[in-house]
């Protein structure tokens, strides 16, 4: 279902931002009329969605930072992005 190729440069949609909530010591994604809790894995992925980095670069960067198998990381990233694109939170 995803339109994401390895050369896609996904980014957060306008009006969507990730911020640390100091009062609750948690990361949240703020969007129109919505607040979504972001778990630590999601935070690492979302903060790399600059619009400049390609999907392949995002995955490479994560693989380097977390010494995990690239294919597993790519599967995680695609699963999250599919969900976020479906909700209009990310532009492919």
């Amino acid at each position: 279902m995803t339109a994401l190729g390895p050369d896609s440069r996904p980014r957060l949609a306008p009006g969507v931002r990730l911020r640390h909530d100091g009062v609750r010591d948690a990361w949240v994604l703020l969007a129109p009329e919505t607040i979504i809790d972001a778990n630590p894995v999601a935070v690492e992925i979302i903060r790399r969605l600059t619009g400049d980095a390609t999907l392949a670069e995002v995955v490479d960067d994560l693989a380097g930072a977390f010494t995990a198998e690239r294919s597993l990381i790519e599967a995680d990233v695609r699963a999250l992005l599919d969900k976020m694109i479906g909700k209009g939170l990310v532009e492919p």
Binding site: P14, R19, D21, V23, R24, V28, L30, P32, E33
Partner: protein, 363 residues
């Protein structure tokens, strides 16, 4: 503050009751304070800073028409400095492209634009303002050109109940990614205009079905947030996500409310930001503790497994229809007063022809 008390996530800031439109279902109170009672810029800025420190994440800048405040960009800027997500809820009337760009550079995150109907003649008649509809089209164009996310909202009532789908189409045409379709809720101005606003049961039912169908059909193109009339539901809505649990309102003069209709409940003591910090109000204001949690509940709520799902529904509706603000919301099928929900809609004689409104006005 007790250990169990969670901080609020949202603040509805009613910056002013001034508004060029006169929508007969306005959610503002019948008796409105004028400009001379409004909080000044510095006080609103303090309120936003206190809100952020308390745990608020999103601020809804509303009114009245918030654009009537000349200091709006200064208020948005303070919110942005505090990391607060800002949502401007506007009719669009009074906006210029330059002012929109000023708000954007101050840090505005999102705009919610109201529409009254799918065509100009109908919309302007409902708003009581000639030219409002065309202005909104122009405003929507500026918003999308500025790459600000746009939500369109529409209230459904007798004069537009046949145009619900057309209003969703209009929202898409205007470039909105979200649309809120809400059936009028009958308190305040809407209650005063109820016989002119209430659609027939068949028309309301058809509109609900049509919007539900569009929700699926248009998934991925536009998100539809659909607020259906209470009398269709088996259980009540979790009004405000639970009383004094997630959000609060600040009125133009600084009174802090658990919901925008809370002042319809007699005997509640509200505190003002002029006298107290938001942290004190959230924790200790008598009106906030009156229906917080579950201790205040009567049967059937008291022993109900859904008591922390819907929190007994709406306190204002319980008062209006069951005569007791701590009763179970009559929208609930378990309420001994549930029959009044149906009666409240059936007993109203719907006059034929063009509805005649008492337009909302300040004063």
């Amino acid at each position: 503050m007790s250990a169990a008390l969670q901080p609020p996530v949202g603040l509805l800031a009613e910056l002013t009751y001034r508004c060029p439109l006169g929508c007969p279902y306005c959610s503002n109170p019948i008796e409105m304070e004028g400009r001379d009672r409004e909080l000044d810029t510095a006080t609103w800025q303090r309120v936003f800073s206190e809100a952020a420190a308390l745990g608020v994440l999103q601020v809804h800048l509303s009114g009245g028409e918030p654009l009537a405040r000349r200091d709006l960009a200064d208020l948005v800027r303070r919110c942005a400095e505090e990391g607060l997500y800002t949502n401007l809820i506007t009719s669009g009337v009074g906006l210029t492209e330059a002012r929109l760009l000023e708000l954007k550079s101050a840090g505005l995150d999102h705009v919610q634009l109201s529409i009254q109907d799918a065509d100009a003649a109908g919309a302007d008649r409902i708003a009581g303002y000639r030219g409002a509809f065309e202005r909104k089209r122009e405003v929507a164009g500026w918003i999308t050109a500025a790459r600000l996310p746009l939500t369109v909202n529409a209230v459904i009532h007798r004069a537009n109940v046949h145009h619900a789908a057309a209003m969703v189409e209009l929202a898409m045409e205007l470039g909105a990614r979200r649309v809120e379709i809400a059936h009028a809720q009958y308190y305040g101005w809407a209650l005063r205009n109820r016989s002119a606003l209430m659609p027939s049961r068949e028309d309301a039912r058809a509109a609900v079905a049509e919007i539900e169908r569009l929700k699926t059909e248009l998934a991925g193109r536009i998100a539809i947030d659909h607020v259906i009339p209470d009398y269709y539901a088996k259980y009540p809505k979790a009004c405000m996500g639970g009383w004094a649990r997630r959000t609060f309102n600040v009125t133009p003069s600084g009174t802090v409310l658990p919901c925008h209709a809370a002042q319809t409940i007699p005997g509640l003591e509200f505190w003002s930001v002029r006298d107290h910090s938001l942290a004190e109000i959230w924790a200790d204001a008598p009106a906030f503790n009156a229906y917080r949690g579950t201790d205040w509940m009567q049967e059937p709520c008291r022993s109900c497994p859904r008591q922390t799902v819907d929190f007994g529904g709406c306190r204002c509706q319980a008062l209006a229809l069951a005569g007791d603000a701590s009763a179970t919301d009559p929208a609930c099928v378990l309420s001994p007063r549930h029959h009044v929900m149906a009666e409240a809609t059936e007993e109203i004689a719907l006059p034929a022809g063009e509805p005649v409104y008492e337009y909302r006005r300040l004063g």
